[in-house]
Symmetry: C2
Subunit: 334 residues, 2 copies
Amino acid sequence: MAKVNRQIRLAARPLGFPKESDFEMVELPVPEPGEGEVLTRTLFLSIDPYMRGRMNDTKSYSTPVPIGGVMVGRTIGEVVASRDSGFAAGDIVVSFGNWQEYALIRGKTLRKLDPVLAPVSTALGVLGMPGHTAYVGLLDIGQPQPGETVVVSAASGAVGSLVGQIAKIKGCRVVGIAGGDAKCRYVVDELGFDACVDHREADFGAALARACPRGVDVNFENVGGAVLQAVWPLLNDFARVVVCGLIAHYNDNTPSRSPDLRSVLIKRLTVRGFIITDHNARLDDFLRDVSAWLREGRIKYREDIVDGLEHAPEAFIGLLHGRNFGKLIVRVAP
Amino acid sequence: MAKVNRQIRLAARPLGFPKESDFEMVELPVPEPGEGEVLTRTLFLSIDPYMRGRMNDTKSYSTPVPIGGVMVGRTIGEVVASRDSGFAAGDIVVSFGNWQEYALIRGKTLRKLDPVLAPVSTALGVLGMPGHTAYVGLLDIGQPQPGETVVVSAASGAVGSLVGQIAKIKGCRVVGIAGGDAKCRYVVDELGFDACVDHREADFGAALARACPRGVDVNFENVGGAVLQAVWPLLNDFARVVVCGLIAHYNDNTPSRSPDLRSVLIKRLTVRGFIITDHNARLDDFLRDVSAWLREGRIKYREDIVDGLEHAPEAFIGLLHGRNFGKLIVRVAP
């Protein structure tokens, strides 16, 4: 093959918010698969907040991307050549293909998709890692009961939008927090949340309190910072704080202190962090339930698709500023 | 009855550490029991950290003591007169008799003690609320597994000493934190902890790290503040932080911020507060297990007994400074 594989690598470790110069694009020959390997052409690349953590050289739950290494990411790919008998050219697969146009992947790490069941891009969103995150985080960590109030930040995002819709299915009052009027209207009018509060408004804290007249029983935290500070005083006794993401802090250079610990004691709160890769045992349950809810029209989703691998850095930086609207995906191959 | 009932009341709400002038002693006639009531003479009064919270006029999990109100507290009493057919003069009972020499109590709130089974003062300590707190907090909230490392602060105290001994019974490595060499030696030599670190030493953080070579899986937190800050970086993935008490903060006038929230996410921590009165369903299990361990000599306890109700304020203030050594009890009647 004489084709070129464009690849985006980490050029420098960002201090604070990443800049486009922290990434570099290189061109390489497209490789040939070895025994047990599959060559895929990337169709879609998922862009997610966790990627900011991989750019740091600090101990975390997974290995940092080395300087000069290709940026990591889940992809939907089409098999171009296969030396694994389980896959053939034309198969559509989901894998960690990373920020590049072609990826060599061991067959046993691939999952085949049936394009007839759902649009294949959903395997990066509502039927992928963000959906799995929402399902496990809400149901297993948050344990919402019918009639309880659930607050979810980044409510129009890939995770938050599903958290709120599942909480509605489970009989909760659901209040979203989002940035800007358009996202708030979408969350209420399209997704069916009971209310949504704009964290950019001057009276955000008071508006959130008005939207939660019976307090907050489950806080699904995707943001942290000022958003969490506003939720904190509204927490009821025995409330659960699901720490799923802290995007407000990913670009901090200082520790992110959490709110008053005495409240944890007095209100008997549970504050619990989770990482979805620890919860693969719930993957089948998630796929079964959310697929059914999608078919029944009880779950909606929204994708924010950016064309061209070269725009991935800009799209990722925008995500960290809340500029996307829905699950952010880069369409790598037209 | 012409006898006098001496009673200690809250005279003023403390700012920061309480002073003796925040309390006042008054003398009243000993009252007569009405229908369904029992008059008890107080033998022992339990002095506990939670009492500091009751002196504040802020929303908490229970009602503040009003200015001029008698200070609350659990007591062991002897029935002097009874108009409840379930109790007779001479019975020994545990109840909320408060900081006074005689108490009128509704019979249905009393629990009778058998002085033959165990010294009656143990119903305020190892077989009372502190013991129940240790049992539920460690086993139900902390969920220690054999081989895990458990750290407990205020390790020589009523709760901490039992937490560590139960954790040893459950097969854990147990590291105590206590103030001063005498307490640390007691915790290791008498109670059988694997190690104990003095939080007053200059190299406390480093010493704690050396005592926990495999990190910390359960942190049973009785103190907060600098003690918790030292434990925090040692927490392993999936560690549980049991927030039982925050005595370092009870005299703060500002919120007590907890350590880095990002660690909660990255390490998948569970930080959970609890109040023992929510866990009465486990009272029988606690009494059964801890009574058996006491009989078998697997559990030891230590009481710090102060004579005379008039010394209760001083003893309580000393407790908040860590001056007691073992379960602090005031012997009210000789």
